[in-house]
Symmetry: C2
Amino acid sequence: MREVFNLEPEQVPTSWYNILADLPVEVPPSRPAPPRNNGQAPLRPQLPLSMYRPSIGRKRFVPIPEPVRAEYQRWRPTPLYRASRLEKALDTPAHIYFKYEGTSPSGSHKINTALAQAYYYGQSGVKEMVTGTGAGQWGSALAMACHPYGMECTVFMVRSSYRQKPYRGTLMRLNGAKVFTSPSEETEVGRAALRADPDSPGSLGIANAEAIEYANDRKEARFSIGSGENHVLMHQTVIGEEALLQMELAGEFPDVVIGAMGAGSNFAGITFPFYRAAQTENPATRFLAVEPDACPKMTRGSYLMDHTDYSGVTPAVKMYTLGHTFMAYHIHAGGLRYHGAAPIVSAMYHHDLVEAISYGQNRVFESGAAFAKAEGLVPAPESAHAVAAAIDEAVKAREERKKRVILFGLSGHGLLDLSAYESYLSGETVDVVPTDEEIQKSLRPLLEPT
Amino acid sequence: MREVFNLEPEQVPTSWYNILADLPVEVPPSRPAPPRNNGQAPLRPQLPLSMYRPSIGRKRFVPIPEPVRAEYQRWRPTPLYRASRLEKALDTPAHIYFKYEGTSPSGSHKINTALAQAYYYGQSGVKEMVTGTGAGQWGSALAMACHPYGMECTVFMVRSSYRQKPYRGTLMRLNGAKVFTSPSEETEVGRAALRADPDSPGSLGIANAEAIEYANDRKEARFSIGSGENHVLMHQTVIGEEALLQMELAGEFPDVVIGAMGAGSNFAGITFPFYRAAQTENPATRFLAVEPDACPKMTRGSYLMDHTDYSGVTPAVKMYTLGHTFMAYHIHAGGLRYHGAAPIVSAMYHHDLVEAISYGQNRVFESGAAFAKAEGLVPAPESAHAVAAAIDEAVKAREERKKRVILFGLSGHGLLDLSAYESYLSGETVDVVPTDEEIQKSLRPLLEPT
């Protein structure tokens, strides 16, 4: 049985896919950033228009600039595998496929958008990219992406993740980036967070707010974000476009496409092209977003106008959110500790075009370890969320005695997360779930009239 | 300029290359294992004949069993890159190419032979593979390789490496292996080493001696070795055979081929096929083995009959060695702390068919960091030895104002070695070099008449 489906470098997509061209539902427009009354400089637009415009338009295919595509071809197309050993271990009639982004230089899908952004920002004259990062996958991807274009890179990394994964910081520095732990003393937002709680573990919201402030204070610097925004989702569609061709090689079309859900770019990357193709190939195909119990924005959040950053200086967007001040408990999958879901994914979820499910982290690591033993690849804790859902789908197929074609996105390897697996294997990993009261507390301010 | 040279899965070699068919020099035969007079069971042959025989014969090409080749095709062919950004950073007229084995499931070249060995052992009825590992790359490769064939895997890992890289142990356990730190209490060899020095950092020689004893005491277990032996070198030639085709795509033939030198399988893998091709393509091509100052078996050792294991129970082979009781100082490149050079490589070195050079570890990490910054890939500390030599060759080309085509093997990524890079970046990495007296001490017993 064939287990690997490879494409030629020439088959790296020449265009990104803009799902707005095909969505039957409205994605509400964003609300301009609020005026700043704390004496800080007004927030400049941070996005190059050449990158931003196509991501809010209705053109279906957006050409990938040749220098970006040439970078992609250094490791893309990534492989798609049939997980036949996992199928055997589960004794399931399901066919399980996964698209593997762990072969990228940064070890995850994040570099797909990092390279695109570095290119567009560089073209518009920016000399320094500034960002926030949770688990560090985004930060290391951006650090790597800046170098080919001769740009500087500055990263605010969530403190709890930095402590637990110091080597992500090493990796960023090896790639020439400047790294601050967040909350930091570098910005007003960071200093305020430290005054409120000197031991603050930080959050992606705070790290991004720090990066925004830091970039806003420097003439040739701009803030860059690794997920959630339309353009980021669009850049990641190279994953699904390749996977479409590869599933064609396999001669099957998925009944369900599964992706882990942080802010949504990984999920969008693997699912959006299949959403388009499903209209003709298999309208019953389901799209399943998997989030952690600790940060259940879709399964327990509300569909509201909210900010993407902790301090509320960014334009508000309509999304499933736990509130931009929500502070998720620490989990190993730091990349999924973000309070909101991308506006496009949120609109699709609101109109039942996608489904969502959440898992506790012990179940996630159990699935990740089972997958590693069967397939010889260790998934990042974030990606292991998708593995857990794929295993559940395969078990359901076994119970129903029906074939089911399952495709999931394995967004990155877990070689920098082995300490998390060690903690799980030693029985030290705790399941953490916010109470309704905790969620309501951060949502309440959003429900009040402004 | 084209920077990536990819091949199709169909271009994974169908045969391994046996350099004995083409060598103009003699590789002296091994001397049978000495009788054991300590009351232990006599040492059984550990190698399946189906694997061993072709590796001492004169047949040039040995067909790769189809199940092994199918496993290779899960990630092979591996990419070959032109390091044009490193060339630019060095301002050199040299063309630098590297063959990258870091995309394998185990993150290094080791799995090429691990899969072949697991296959042959399994075919001959073995149920448990036992081995010693230094830096852990070999142990994790063997753990991954055993699973597809339903075999158990037991690993003795050098204690100093285990302490510094605990996550290699996690990786092996995730792949279902049993892991002991060596010296251990599990074997007589281990207990003796602990009696002599309770704080012994261990060595690959001791770990292998423990694995041999452990396997010898169990009916369905056999010892497997990750480097040095003829068959291991042969399995690794898939690297060089692919690289030959890829250099053809690039339209160049190397003036020098460089590989890091532990016991020799990585070096052989990248160089042997080029040795064959050079006879017609470019007889002046040089082959350069790079070892650490801390374990200079080629540059400072002697060409003598010696054992491959610490306790001297294995057959003796003629090789460049520091003596099987040589205890190298700790360095981060644990995979290169082996006392001897493979018999084939040793014979070639003795007859000036290959060259050797050694570097201190600060120079090695400086080179690894420069490479990472330029190319976005972090080399394992072992592989960074080859990077250091490639940089030296490129600098010489600049000084001579002459083009030079350099190819080196990047045998694995350094994502599990970021703590070592952190130590280097913090200025905490120390260069350690054995004295002449230390080397003579472990060589002396070999010079005495037996």
